[in-house]
Amino acid sequence: MLTSEKASGSVISEGRLSMESFETESARRGRQLADLYHRYNIDTEEVDDVQSLPIRFLVEVGKVGLAKYIFKEIIHYKGNTEVILSRPCTYGVFSGPVGGFSPRPHLCVGCLRCTIQHPEFVKVLPNPERLSLGDSYTTHGHIAAIDEEAKKGMVPVRGQGYRGRFGGPGFDGMLTDMSEIVRPSRDGIHGRELIGTSVDIGSKPMHLSFDEKGEIKGIKPKMFSIQVPFIFDLPPGNLGTEKLIRVIDSTSKGIDTLACVNSSDVERMAIDSANIIPVLSIDDAQKSSNFPNARLIQLDGWDSSAVDAARSVSDAMIGVRIKFEEGWQLRLDSAVNHGVEVIHLLADLHGRGEDGQFVIELFKEAHLRLIEQGRRDLVTLIGAGGIVGADHVPKSIISGLDAVALDLPVLFALQGRSDGSLVERAGVIGNLPNKMDEGWAEQRLTNLCGSWRNQLLEILGAMGIREVRRLRGEFGRSMIVEHLEDEAFEGIAGYVGGGN
């Protein structure tokens, strides 16, 4: 496991350099750092399905038609088995013991060669059960992508171009920029190897003050780093079982990120650690003292006295979870005024605030609000809600976040289904596989994180940005389809603006 302390090199910060020993000492420390250096990577490994998604296609073969066809071929080709037994599928759908009489639709990829070649008796149909997964926002496409990413841990690669709608609502309406010639690095295949995905959690002081002894005056910054710009959020709805919590705990340690867990669960399961964020209600702020190993504790809502109470009993950073409900801006301002270092912003699972605004706009408003106040670097913004695709991570960061929190992707990565709402967190009724092995589950979550990190590297590589921290708030390196349409279609009869 790679710990944040090692990653930041803080473990060798013994003593201060003096001018007399500067060269030799700095060289020695440099060597020490180099010896500690380890290129961060998430080790992925393909795992088997436990509760597979419904198959993509249904394959229907008319048995009578097939029998007649084979009989005709036997006569026509005079028993030439190479020709008669040739099958219209390279994927093995008709390669079972009795061929087309018992097709194997789970192998079908939808090339449709069979139904073109034999339209009289072969049909390939999209499976309605699969199409019914998810809802209007978290579509069956998102769920299938997450399932594949968690299974293989790879970047999904396919042939042919884009198949979906032009632009679209929400995150689909944002495009990331690319650079024709600028690259983060000329080394390696694509220079991706040198792109950093670590982010800082906490407050960056605008300046440091030192006393006469050269020690930092006042409260020392508690900032720490995690290796990926995503953390695990509180499992929504009924998902927060002990088993799942153990899985996200071990996964977050394995990839060096954080996991939000209800404080009562942290205590009951005795999992207090640097990678766990205990989440307490405002009324329980005093219980922050029960988590001596936590680097970050979150209070569920903003209340200055609760933050004070938590601070009085804990050395951990105290963060605040703020929902995008009426008055959130004032709560954000108050919390930052009060020195809260981490704000966890929450939209619903469709990425909407109470007023219906999408998170791109909401994250942007929060980010710009703090910039206008000159306080953006004093606080870490984490956001959650509506993040169900790998592209949503960089797009959220472009919108102003430091990191995102994952909720529903955990359910689908573990091949769970939801019988409840996919809009309201509390309404999620998730069904995880009955015989979910924790090692299997940890590997699947690790695979998902590996895949999403690698996809983030693709985006950063294309943009020519060397570290994800520099992506934060880079609106200028994104494009909004509606704005582009305004520019392109202005003056065309019937175009009224805003993509309409």
């Binding site: 296609f57 080709y77 190479e82 020709v83 040739s86 599928c89 390279t90 990829v109 939808g110 090339c111 449709l112 060669r113 073109i116 070649q117 034999h118 339209p119 049909k123 390939v124 149909l125 992508a145 970047v155 999904p156 690669v157 396919r158 042939g159 042919q160 171009g161 884009y162 198949r163 979906g164 709608r165 032009f166 632009g167 679209g168 689909d172 495009l175 920029d177 690319m178 650079s179 024709e180 010639i181 295949i189 694509h190 592209d391 996809q455 693709e458 590589g461 294309a462 943009m463 494009m479 389809v481 349409e485 520019e487 392109a488 279609f489 065309i492 009869a493 019937g494 009224v496 309409n500």
Partner: protein, 439 residues
């Protein structure tokens, strides 16, 4: 399982079944396959393309004009004149396009239709597909691009119609194939995966493919991104000078994707010496690309064309450069709209493949079988590639192009124009279909 070259009898059986099946579907004998099509290429658009490839005519009962993507070309239509003002449909309506507008001493090249074939390398497609496209290009006095995979010797017989592509991996780039090329194309980026380079998976890099690319068989091949010799527009200019030294007569084409500053990139390329600026939009085709790249990086071509066109006009150089658009252009109607938005002409890739039977199943990169396209298009599998006989494929592409040229003329005449060059930048002839109108 050992894959062997199929017998003549098996080739005959399979191709007959496939070709008859396509014909039957295109003529509505069995309806559209239930699982066919997507928002960009609807079932009707695919079947209408098959119909045109079968007959050389546009279909009467299928939508051959637009997809269902809810934006871009699919929300634009032409404001045709009253029927009394239409020009008579005739071969006199010119679809010719000059590619050298700089007025320099290089090749004076005109193509008979305002489009040519985009780069698909040997390896990403079979030799049959590559040769079919090239032979069809010769029939139409147009071009195809080699893509980045070298220059199979078979192409020599049609070298007047082949653009040699130089891309970031320099695979198969040789002095003699640059000298043979009327046009040399620098591929800086590809619309489907802008900023990410190219990738030929190991299963498709067989012995012949590897030999041509100077690589080891069955080892994945990456084209890095970007050109590691280009840090600036001045370096880009040196690239073009290098080609000019080897082949002083060749036109220079620069293929780029569509970032935020695509207008600046285009102007820079012009001043560096490019005759053709080729924009490849974000919805373009590919043999293999990360799914995240396909819709999220860079802009769709519909939005890039007017941006670049207007900038070139403002810079005062618009008439000295040919602006070619590609990436998500599917039909003659799309091409006409692209030209009305400001392009001079277009490049087609996926349309050619659909004409030859592609159903856009997205398994070009190998798929679960590891053998590539089950239709024999984007594969070098020794069995599968036999499903695309060259003569059949050339005729289908010829038919498809005939129908598309007919439709292009049909659009022009209904706008009162008799030359495709008159359509360029005429956004006043377009109409946007508001979203509420179709809901």
């Amino acid at each position: 399982m050992t894959i062997v070259k199929p017998s003549e009898l098996l080739i005959e059986k399979t191709t007959n079944l496939l070709h008859n099946g396509m014909n039957a579907r295109a003529f509505g004998d069995f309806g559209a396959p239930e699982a066919l099509g997507d928002a960009r290429w609807t079932d009707e658009l695919i079947l209408s393309t098959w119909h045109m490839a079968e007959t050389g005519k546009i279909p009467e009962k299928l939508n051959f004009k637009t997809g269902n993507s809810d934006g871009g070309f699919d929300r634009l239509k032409f404001q045709f004149l009253d029927e009394s003002e239409w020009v008579e449909h005739s071969e006199k309506i010119s679809t010719k396009l000059d590619l050298n507008r700089r007025g320099d001493e290089k090749n004076k090249i005109s193509i008979d239709i305002p489009w040519y074939g985009g780069g698909m390398s040997y390896g990403s497609v079979s030799i049959n597909v590559m040769m079919s496209r090239a032979r069809n290009a010769r029939r139409w006095n147009s071009f195809i691009s080699t893509g980045e995979g070298g220059y199979p010797t078979e192409l020599r017989e049609v070298e007047e119609n082949v653009i040699t592509q130089v891309a970031t991996g320099y695979f198969g780039v040789e002095e003699d194939t640059i000298q043979a090329a009327p046009i040399v194309e620098f591929k800086y980026a590809q619309g489907a995966k802008p900023g990410l380079g190219g990738h030929l998976l190991a299963v498709k890099a067989g012995e012949d493919v590897a030999k041509l690319r100077g690589s080891v068989p069955f080892v994945s091949l990456f084209s890095p991104f970007p050109f590691h010799s280009t840090y600036s527009v001045e370096d880009h200019s040196k690239h073009l000078d290098w080609i000019e030294t080897i082949n002083p007569k060749a036109l220079l084409s620069v293929k780029v994707s569509t970032p935020h500053d695509v207008d600046m990139v285009a102007v820079g390329s012009f001043y560096a010496g490019a005759h053709i600026i080729h924009l490849d939009g974000g919805y373009g085709g590919t043999g293999a690309a990360p799914e995240i790249a396909k819709k999220n990086i860079a802009m769709p071509i519909e939005l890039a064309i007017p941006k670049v066109h207007k900038f070139l006009v403002a810079e005062g150089v618009r008439d000295r450069v040919t602006l070619i658009a590609s990436g998500g252009i599917r039909t003659a109607d799309d091409m006409a709209k692209a030209i009305a938005l400001g392009a001079d002409g277009c490049v087609l890739g996926t349309t050619d493949l659909v004409g030859l039977g592609c159903t856009r199943c997205s398994n070009c990169e190998g798929g679960p079988s590891g053998r590539g396209c089950p239709w024999g298009l984007t594969t070098t599998d020794i069995e599968l590639q036999e499903w695309v006989p060259q003569d059949w494929a050339v005729q289908r592409l010829d038919n498809l192009y005939s129908a598309m040229q007919w439709r292009m003329r049909d659009i022009l005449r209904k706008l009162g124009l008799d030359d495709v060059t008159q359509l360029r930048g005429r956004t006043d002839l377009l109409q946007y279909i508001p979203k509420e109108a179709s809901e």
